[in-house]
Symmetry: C2
Subunit: 469 residues, 2 copies
């Protein structure tokens, strides 16, 4: 659960030693704290030809209170920013070594790029501004979903941005994240929750991702940015400890009333976790055949708005040595139990209109993993659930998404042998493992009432792990 190397190289002596030996120096990531400002400092704004997002972005940045400074590629920015009341000015590169006037974020509007011959301003903006980006800074590129593009040239150019943002994430280091947001035409106003997440320290361990925001036909419910989940009820499985307890904590901090589920043998820890959050503890074995109906009955009166399928187990062995029981139970607990529970909650209408389902997949589910064929199968199945169910849930305004954690510092990863653990920790753009709260914050963003345009997607929480497929 602790990363001794990270602590060492960020001590005065360790930093000097690492520097003289040329060792990697992972940055201590800035994470969200309720007692510190979530948004501050300068955002450099750049744009390609015919930027379609700038107007919407100006309004959103105004509401964060940040100052937007215009790169020469974004000539339209200053009048737009003034109209929206954003503090603004011209982007000035920061002198090397100076910490004055550094950027908190670099934002580029690529939504109007229609051809790969129009990439010059993309290059110019990041070339000019990268060195001025502060540690733990943010890079966000806005583009269009390739498959929604009118021409093959535009599709190609928009798809190419993926290679660009991922490369920048791998170059930038210093705790900086780089992500690409595909905004469907008509979904511009739905991007605010997502822009805030990616600008905020809440997204500390989310990098190299591509998120699509679709247009929706219904109006969003009214919510408060400070307590977006107020009045919502959230069911979290596996909530007694670890990542599940962290999810419960973050959702509660955002205003949700949490109903935590865990197996009867973890009842004491569950009760304790839920008491601290003023939540409700339900001791159920999610894999038991009677659980879905009992759960729906327990929730019935008030229903539920957010379902987080976090409970899961590993029973690792190579397939040749794996027992049938180990195969079956991992598939059943990690995947089939979710199917049965969602069926029960959806049939009875317990999961309410406008609800959210969030599954927990894994990098192993994306890339496969030796010794985890059962686990990887179950976690790839979670991706299948999200993709298959999203269209069916649209008419109820319910979204379904998954997070795919990479190496997260937990009791489970603490048991991995040292050399493998060190490799897993370092093989990502942050050179460190993530924390349970990084997964929890990502889930809270997907659970947000403002995330109505995001469905059927998988977001990795992996610090841009090298590992993938």
């Amino acid at each position: 659960m602790t990363d001794a190397y990270l602590n060492f190289v960020n001590s005065p002596f360790g930093a000097r030693l690492a520097s003289s030996l040329g060792l990697p120096k992972p940055e201590v990531l800035r994470r969200y704290r309720a007692d510190q400002p979530e948004f501050e400092g300068l955002i450099a704004v750049g744009a390609g030809p015919q930027p379609r997002m700038l107007e919407a972005l100006a309004g959103m940045i105004a509401r964060t209170g940040m100052t937007g400074v215009a790169h020469e590629s974004a000539g339209l920015w200053i009048p737009l920013a003034q109209r929206h009341g954003v503090m603004t000015g011209r982007f000035e590169p920061v002198a090397s070594g100076s910490s004055q006037g550094r950027m908190s974020a670099l934002l580029f509007d690529a939504s109007g790029i229609e051809d790969v011959t129009q990439f010059d301003t993309l290059y110019a903006f990041f070339h000019d501004a990268l060195r001025s980006l502060d540690k733990c800074g943010r890079m966000v590129v806005f583009g269009r979903p390739p498959e929604a593009c009118a021409t093959t040239r535009q599709w190609t150019a928009q798809r190419a941005l993926e290679g660009f943002t991922r490369s920048l994430g791998k170059e930038a280091r210093r705790g900086i994240t780089s992500n690409l947001i595909h905004v469907a035409p008509g979904a511009e106003a739905l991007t605010e929750a997502t822009l805030r997440f990616f600008l905020s320290p809440r997204s500390a361990y989310v990098s190299g991702q591509v998120v699509r925001i679709d247009a929706v036909t219904h109006a969003l419910p009214v919510f408060d940015w400070k307590q977006p989940l107020a009045g919502r009820r959230a069911l979290v499985t596996g909530a007694a400890r670890g990542i599940g307890a962290s999810i419960a904590g973050v959702l509660a901090a955002e205003g949700a009333r949490v109903i935590g589920v865990d197996i009867p043998s973890a009842k004491e820890a569950l009760d304790q976790t839920m008491r601290a959050l003023n939540g409700t503890a339900l001791a159920f074995d999610i894999a038991a055949p009677e659980t879905p109906a009992q759960l729906a009955a327990a929730l019935d009166e008030n229903g539920v708005d957010i379902v987080v399928h976090n409970a899961g187990v590993t029973k690792d062995k190579t397939l040749a040595k794996m027992t049938e029981a180990a195969w079956r139970s991992v598939i059943d607990i990690n995947l089939a139990a979710q199917e049965r529970i969602d069926d029960a909650l959806l049939e009875a209408g317990t999961l309410r209109h406008g609800g959210r389902i969030i599954g927990v997949s894994s990098i192993s589910g994306i890339a496969g993993n030796a010794g985890q064929s059962n686990y990887a199968t179950s976690k790839a199945g979670v991706i299948g659930r999200v993709q298959s169910m999203a269209p069916h849930l649209r008419e109820r305004h319910i979204t379904i998404n998954a997070v795919a954690p990479g190496f997260i510092e937990t009791q489970m990863t603490a048991k991995i042998p040292f050399a493998i653990r060190e490799a897993g920790r370092r093989m990502n753009s942050m050179s460190q493992g993530g924390q349970p709260v990084d997964v929890a914050q990502t889930i809270a963003w997907l659970a947000h009432p403002g995330s109505a345009g995001i469905t059927g997607q998988v977001v990795r929480v992996c610090g841009q792990s090298l590992i993938g497929a």
Copy 2:
């Protein structure tokens, strides 16, 4: 270009040393040789409930001359095999340490699986048979494209197979590959070229992939399995040396008449490569504005059936240090030039009905890479081209696909510093780099007249590299 470690640990002394020190021992991969049988030995056949592919597979296996032995999960196999004239029998596990009766391949028909509760035979088959699989053996699972499934449960189960096959590829080692073929309903008879590729030593470095075979409405042209490209004309860019020369060589060996293109400064090497193949050398700079028209004119009389966009350059630097010229030229040569050339060939009808376009992407285009933002952008754009153009080319029966090489032993990779080169080489399920011929064979499969059901796809040639997104 040589892997000294691979050679060493496969020498008698090196093998003993590696074994006593517990060092990895990459297998010398079996590759296709015209003077050796392409298909031989035993295939163990397993199946889930209601297998829809077995009948088609029996016919295909009969034509390879291999012997299919039935696992208990595939009760239907023996009568089907007998009807198709396949040598057959019951699967018997091989005693540990024995090399007698080992399987060349494990084939599982998962096409009828409708729910994750039906995975028991999948587990049982591979659990029972994995240890009987010979080195450089093949695992192939047949499923349905998830997005074509009638129910969310079926979609989930079919999607889950991806995590399974990828995990098996990472477990199996010993030069064994593991791939998943999604066969759309009605496309069963179109799978033969793909089954042959994945069973053959031609696919030595292709593992962890998912390939989709769509149904097509037109009849396939008549072809000879021994010379499938006979009578076809193939344009290969960057053909003078390296991977391009290997592509030209393999296409020629399959019967194609090759037209090789390379820059004027490489004319001598190009002439020599083409002379040896009885091909035609065209010295053109693909990025020159006049080239597309000149190329179309040079091909005009007979047209062309296969276009392989192999030419590409790297100009690596972190973006902050990259010149605008380095940015522009990589995008232009690797991506925009392909767009211009295809436009010219398609407008003039030079690329004939039933043709094939194959782009060369890269793992860097999928995952991004530090110091390669220009290259990764161009190679991600190649994926966008393939995805965007496929639907438009369907009515002409033209397919467009890309290969994405991982670490391939070339003059380019020989220049990478030792430690980084070693990491790149070993971080895959084969524990070694691929050869140019591995890329070339994969392209030849996509160029095959029998691959009419494959379009809009990207196939990695990376030995199941860990690296991805």
